[in-house]
């Protein structure tokens, strides 16, 4: 389109500037709004951040982090197995992909009470709900990855005498690595969402539960501090996964 005039600062300068303005708006609005609902940035940073010294908060962080890791690892494992099973052949693909997509399309939040019914209100239901969110993005990415393999690479390998296992090990697996990392990035966000939903719902420990309690007790500084920390964590995880994704798809 129209060429940008030369004197504009680099995009990241403007980006940082806008973020700073938003933080300033937060500060000013926080000072003038109801102290029951709002809390200026400065207060969140001073008194709010103190919650991370509280044993209860640390305990909740630890619980959620642990559930998240278990949920994520299980999501990757189950998603990978599901994805590879569906992509095993044209037949399994056409037969089971619709079933998988049908399950994926179910709004999972509606079945959250079922998870609590079956897995109890402890960590098990949180892990399970996290996995139910995380495994589909992995499976779908793996399937898309395998579908993207050039048939000629497989034909060529067969002509050179490759066994099924060799084709899997030398072609399928390396080929789907980038999609697997894309899936893992999406799954990490989805698993976090699932775990937090479960924690908000069952109200038994964890960060999700804590945000709910700070909200109900009208402790905005603590609530905002926790949300800010969680958001930062989510962005950090996402960016790390994005970096890995780029690293493993350099050959694309």
């Amino acid at each position: 389109m129209i060429a940008a005039p030369r004197k504009l600062p680099a995009p990241w300068v403007l980006r940082t500037f806008v973020v700073l303005i938003l933080l300033l708006v937060w500060e000013i609005a926080g000072r003038h709004g109801s102290q029951l609902l709002f809390s200026p940035l400065s207060k969140v940073l001073t008194s709010g951040l103190q919650i991370f010294a509280e044993a209860e908060v640390l305990e909740a962080l630890k619980t959620t982090a642990w559930i998240l890791v278990v949920g994520f690892v299980l999501s990757v494992a189950i998603g990978l197995v599901l994805g590879l099973t569906v992509s095993m052949s044209r037949f399994t693909y056409q037969t089971f992909l619709p079933v998988l997509l049908l399950l994926y399309a179910i709004p999972q939040i509606t079945v959250l009470p079922l998870f609590v019914l079956y897995f109890g209100s402890g960590p098990a239901s949180k892990v399970a709900f996290g996995v139910s969110h995380g495994m589909f993005p992995i499976a779908v990415s793996v399937i898309a990855g395998v579908q993207g393999i050039k048939p000629l690479l497989v034909t060529s390998a067969i002509s050179m005498g490759a066994s099924r296992w060799q084709i899997f090990r030398r072609i399928t697996l390396p080929y789907l690595t980038p999609s697997l990392f894309t899936g893992m990035r999406l799954a990490s966000t989805a698993t976090l969402l699932g775990v937090l939903l479960a924690e908000l719902y069952v109200s038994a420990g964890g960060i999700g539960h804590l945000t709910r309690r700070f909200g109900e007790n009208f402790q905005p500084d603590k609530l905002y501090a926790l949300i800010a920390a969680l958001s930062l964590m989510a962005i950090l995880i996402n960016e790390t996964m994005r970096m890995l994704e780029r690293r493993y798809s350099r050959w694309l």
């Binding site: 050039k150 000629l152 690479l153 034909t155 060529s156 390998a157 067969i158 002509s159 050179m160 005498g161 490759a162 060799q166 030398r170 072609i171 390396p174 080929y175 690595t177 050959w251 694309l252």
Partner: protein, 270 residues
């Protein structure tokens, strides 16, 4: 030549299901070809005449509906990686592996012990003049160099037979000329038996001992042209009157078939 043919195509006929899966399409009919050891043969014909299918039947990648192929006297029942190496239209190199690793993986597929893979791979890279590019990735090479790498891979498999499925199709004109010259020189030394599928009249004449001209679908052999010219062939062969006569005859033979093929397509469209 009877009896000592390395490749014997015996009354092959092949039909496949159309895209809708409802009707059978006859691709090849009544194909008989004997190819002697060390011979270089081209298959040429209009698009869709089944020449690539025949190549895949010879390589054991497709089972013919009828008839059979013998390699060294034994019937082909599947891929024969010890006897046959392929070069495809595209290089079919693994994009995440270096050229050297690509060749090593191919040797692994073929069942060559790990210890000797590196040495074999390097020798064949040197043979095609790519020894400086072993550590490069496919996307760092030009189209011509990638095909050269594919050639190195095929050579490293040390098979008697090389099947080439339009190996120059994706290359630009200058690259194809140089590549054909190199190929002719290399193959004269290696003493391989070669079957080449091509669209290019000049390539067929320049590289082959015999050219099989196919009719439009269903593919039948319409004519066989002999090219009496020793290998390796040099660029001046391309400007000789012998070359031009052969090329023109080939053109006449093909013209009718291509027109017929176009006519069939038009009917199909109407």
């Amino acid at each position: 030549m009877e009896g000592e043919a390395l490749i014997k195509v015996d009354d092959v006929r092949h039909a496949f299901l159309s895209k809708t899966g409802e009707e059978e399409v006859l691709a090849l009919d009544g194909i008989n070809i004997d190819i002697a050891r060390g011979e270089m043969v081209s298959l040429i014909g209009p698009s869709g005449c089944g020449k690539s299918t025949l190549l895949n039947v010879v390589g054991g990648m497709i089972a013919a509906s009828q008839g059979h192929v013998l390699i060294g006297g034994t019937p082909v029942k599947g891929p024969r990686p010890k006897d046959v190496a392929y070069i495809f239209q595209e290089s079919a190199l693994l994009p995440w592996a270096t050229i050297l690793d690509n060749i090593k993986v191919s040797l692994e597929f073929q069942g060559v012990p790990r210890a000797s893979r590196d040495k074999i791979a390097r020798i064949s890279l040197t043979a095609v003049g790519l020894d400086a590019f072993g550590d490069s990735y496919p996307h760092q090479l030009s189209g011509g160099m990638k095909q050269r790498a594919a050639l190195a891979r095929a050579l490293s498999l040390r098979t008697d037979i090389l099947l080439m499925d339009e190996p120059f199709a994706a290359l630009d004109e200058q690259t194809r000329m140089i590549f054909s010259e190199d190929l002719s020189r290399l193959l004269a030394n290696e003493h391989k038996t070669i079957v080449l599928v091509t669209h290019s009249l000049a390539e067929a004449v320049f590289l082959s001992d015999r050219i099989f001209v196919f009719t439009s679908r269903p593919g039948r052999i319409k004519a066989v042209l002999n090219v009496d010219e020793p290998h390796p062939r040099i660029p001046t062969f391309m400007t000789s009157s012998k070359f031009n006569d052969l090329r023109n005859r080939l053109y006449e033979l093909l013209r009718d078939e291509v027109l017929a093929a176009i006519g069939k397509d038009r009917q199909g469209l109407a």
